[in-house]
């Protein structure tokens, strides 16, 4: 029995070491690719295609890395697309970066520039709806979760305090905490809902027709303009099944849309 326990512990330790070593190896690889991309991008005659290839590979390898690392790579890939005169794709990359790192000022600035160049309206239009959306999305899912948890714990503490201390002041603090708690839950619930979705961004400058079947001659059921958002449901070779904001469902060529979840 003791021998079995010893062997199990050894196996677990070995697995942990391997996993850690593999993670360190990946990190080194990503770092190398990042530097390669930077070198080609910053050369006196920049090789944007090379930089794009290196940073795309780095992004592929960093699937398990932190969202902040991936946000930096998305931002750099957006810069490459912008320099290659592909403002729609650049806007898509910057949008993906903001989803990973919501309060990145540089990404926001680059996004607005790319959208302007692509002829799209600003991402932050400044109206009430856009402001609400920006506030709700200004936290990452983890931050929103912590905020909601903190609000719930505060509410719990105040419930206990009110039962022990009595008095109107305790009741008022509790009511205030309940209201603030309700507001604090909004970003978390919105992001929780959106985390189940797989958003796409139309990068075809002429827009793209949504077709009833995944073939070129199929009936066109809707039109997605350049920069429009859609949701991905499934994929076939060269085709993506999407749902538009208006509820139409159909297929679009895969190269016309950009997956925002990176």
């Amino acid at each position: 029995m003791r021998e079995l326990l010893r062997r199990t512990l050894c196996a677990l330790l070995l697995f942990a070491c391997c996993a850690s070593g593999r993670a360190q190896g990946l990190d080194a690889q990503v770092k190398t690719l990042f530097q390669q991309g930077l070198d080609t991008y910053s050369a006196p005659t920049p090789d944007y295609a090379g930089a794009r290839a290196s940073w795309s590979a780095a992004l592929e390898l960093s699937k398990q890395s932190s969202a902040l690392d991936r946000a930096e790579l998305c931002k750099n890939l957006g810069a490459v697309a912008f320099r290659q005169e592909r403002p729609l794709e650049a806007a898509a990359w910057f949008t993906a970066a903001i989803q990973l790192k919501p309060r990145d000022i540089d990404a926001w600035s680059n996004l607005e520039l790319a959208r302007t160049k692509a002829g799209l309206e600003p991402a932050d239009r400044g109206d009430l709806e856009a402001t609400f959306e920006r506030v709700v999305h200004s936290l990452s899912l983890a931050e929103a979760e912590w905020l909601a948890l903190a609000a719930a714990v505060t509410l719990g503490i105040l419930i206990v305090l009110r039962a022990l201390v009595f008095g109107r002041a305790a009741t008022r603090w509790l009511a205030l905490a309940a209201v603030l708690g309700a507001f604090s839950v909004v970003p978390w619930s919105v992001q929780l809902f959106e985390s189940r979705r797989d958003p796409l961004f139309v990068v075809s400058t002429a827009g793209v027709a949504v077709q009833s079947e995944p073939r070129a001659s199929a009936t066109k059921v809707a039109l997605l303009s350049a920069g429009a958002r859609a949701e991905r449901f499934e994929e076939l070779a060269g085709w993506v099944r999407v749902a538009t904001d208006h509820g139409e469902r159909g297929w679009v060529p895969a190269e016309t849309v950009f997956a925002l979840r990176r």
């Binding site: 990452s140 509410l155 039962a163």
Partner: protein
């Protein structure tokens, strides 16, 4: 057999109760004065479904639209027999255009799936000879023939013999074309000359209108009180514009009132007719029409001004252009400088417009692009001249301006180096710093904590109640009951009122009516309850109630009010503390 008899009786009773459908038509009056109006009334009785069909056309009579139906449904007793009546009534106004004998043919109504025709109606229209003699009403058009879009004016002059001036206190202009002139739109009314009196006239009976009063004039050799009304129209299509016969009614109206209503009665009334008028509208000629013709028709003059005229390149200049004259100033499209090559040296930001019947004003916001621009070019408006029957144009004069180059002045540029800031991407990330994500507490943890809150609330509420939370709802209700008892005792001026206040308190605390405590054995009641009320409190309560009852009903001496108040509040406090 009995059933059959009942069915037969029921059917016969129903047949007797509901008569056959009948349609009746009548006029409110069979004889009328020219200018007045009669009402055509059609009644359909006892029809399940009925519908009015279009009115016939009768030369010389003008029918209004059907109005209604108004319905009446009920039972009426005729000669001791009860009948059910369903009555629908339609009405339409009838106005004659000339005197004579008229026959209105049978009116058709769809009744219960069939078509029913009423009997023809006779109408005699006589001229109001006195009205024609005492009144005057003329209508004149500024032009008998106009082109599409060319405004024309209708001038109406009307009035009555000045000898009637003390007797006439009401008048009505009956203008059937008012607001219903197909093929023309009415222009904005020009304000009347200052100082003119503007009496109020009824218009088509229901509306009101002001008309300018003129100086008394001579009509048919007699002094007349005269009024003047002018309206301008712009025809929108070619063809004939018809202004049918109009009427002026002038009358003396006497008012009377009683408890129920105020009445107005015409005691003297006259009608005077205005002959119909027709205007011919012709199409705009195609020949010679400029491509940029914006629909301007008339005889216009134009003036233009620009401010400021000494500017930096890119600065805004307000170019104001005003067209005046006779024509459709309100309706044409103004020239767009942005479409003219002459304005290539300018950036056009937009324009603001104001329009009226006498003036069309446009202010263009333009900016010279460079210092090479020396003048604001002409603004050319293509116009159709209806007098000459040809297309022409009116143009502003070029306006000289002084434009300074932007590089020598402040603006977006640095004055010394000529540096121009441009917007560009923020640079890429140049160092790789491996970050770690903020650990997530997890959806389950958040949901668990939120889910636990209601249970925590309930548990803490129980604890609070057990500890005697002074802000718990029950405690607040107890405090309110005691305060109410104190107030009631303060107001009580007799043992009966004091007893009532005490019973009110007990009723409120036991969720019963106060009367439930009248004659109740208090000791026995409290003994049955599982309350922690001290026995001395119950005894005190019993004693107090007995004393108050004796004073209120048994003629015993009245106890001192202050003492009663003190004892009652003390008992109430102890009862409440005991859980009541």
């Amino acid at each position: 057999m009995l059933t059959l008899w009942f069915l037969a009786f029921g059917a016969s009773a129903f047949a007797q109760g509901r008569s056959q459908a009948k349609v009746n038509a009548r006029l409110s009056s069979g004889v009328m004065k020219l200018g007045t109006e009669v009402v055509l009334i059609v009644t359909v009785d006892n029809a399940a479904l009925s519908e009015a069909r279009p009115l016939p056309t009768v030369d010389g009579l003008r029918f209004g639209a059907w109005s209604g139906p108004s319905t009446f449904s009920g039972s009426v007793a005729i000669n001791g027999r009860l009948s059910h009546v369903d009555e629908k009534t339609w009405t339409a106004s009838v106005r004659p255009e000339h005197k004579g004998e008229f026959t209105i043919p049978g009116l058709e109504f769809s009744v219960d799936g069939g078509v029913v025709r009423t009997q023809p109606l006779a109408l005699t229209v006589v001229e109001d000879m006195k009205g024609e003699e005492l009144g005057v009403f003329t209508m004149r058009a500024s032009k008998p023939k106009v082109v599409e879009g060319q405004p024309f004016t209708i001038e109406m002059t009307f009035g009555w013999d000045d000898a009637l001036k003390d007797r006439i206190n009401w008048s009505n202009l009956s203008l059937p074309w008012w607001s219903h002139l197909p093929g023309a739109i009415e222009n904005e009314a020009t304000p009347s000359a200052a100082g003119n009196a503007q009496p109020n006239f009824a218009l088509n009976t229901n509306d009101a209108i002001h008309a300018d009063e003129l100086q008394p004039g001579q009509v048919r050799g007699r002094p007349f009180r005269l009024f003047h009304l002018v309206r301008t129209f712009t025809p929108t299509r070619s063809g004939k514009l018809e202004f049918p016969t109009s009427w002026l009614e002038f009358a003396r109206v006497e008012e009377s009132s009683d408890f129920f209503a105020r009445r107005r009665e015409k005691v003297e009334s006259y009608f005077v007719k205005c002959e119909p008028l027709m205007i011919e509208v012709v199409e705009l000629p195609e020949a010679g029409r400029p491509a940029d013709f914006g629909g301007a028709i008339g005889n216009f003059s134009v003036r233009a001004s620009a401010t400021p005229r000494d500017v930096d390149a890119g600065d805004s200049i307000k170019l104001k252009v005003e067209w005046t004259g006779s024509g459709n100033l309100e309706f044409f499209s103004v020239p767009e400088p942005g479409r003219s090559d002459a304005f290539n040296g300018f950036k056009i930001y937009g324009k603001t417009e104001t329009k009226s019947a006498n003036l069309r004003s446009v202010t263009y916001d333009i900016a010279p692009k460079s210092a090479e621009v020396k003048q604001i070019p002409q603004i050319v408006l293509p116009v159709f001249d209806p007098e000459g029957g040809r297309y022409t144009s009116v143009s502003t004069d070029p306006i000289t301006i002084n434009v300074r180059a932007l590089a020598r002045v402040s603006g977006l540029n640095d004055s010394s180096s000529g540096f121009v800031a441009q917007n560009d991407l923020r640079d890429v990330q140049r160092t790789w710093n491996s970050h770690s994500d903020l650990p997530r507490p997890g959806k389950s943890a958040v949901l668990f904590v939120f889910g636990a809150l209601p249970f925590l609330w309930i548990a803490m509420g129980r604890i609070a109640r057990r500890r005697g939370d002074p802000w718990a709802p029950m405690e607040r209700r107890r405090r309110r009951a005691k305060a109410q008892l104190a107030r009631d005792l303060d107001k009580a001026d007799s043992p009966r009122a004091e007893l009532g206040a005490l019973q009110d308190f007990l009723g409120a605390r036991t969720a019963e009516r106060a009367q439930a405590w009248q004659g109740r054995d208090v000791g026995a009641w409290f003994a049955r309850q599982s309350l922690a009320v001290a026995p001395d409190a119950v005894n005190d309560l019993e004693r107090l109630i007995a004393e108050l009852e004796a004073a209120a009903w048994g003629g015993a001496p009245k106890p001192a009010q202050a003492a009663v108040r003190e004892r009652a509040l003390s008992v109430a406090e102890r009862l409440v503390r005991g859980g009541l």
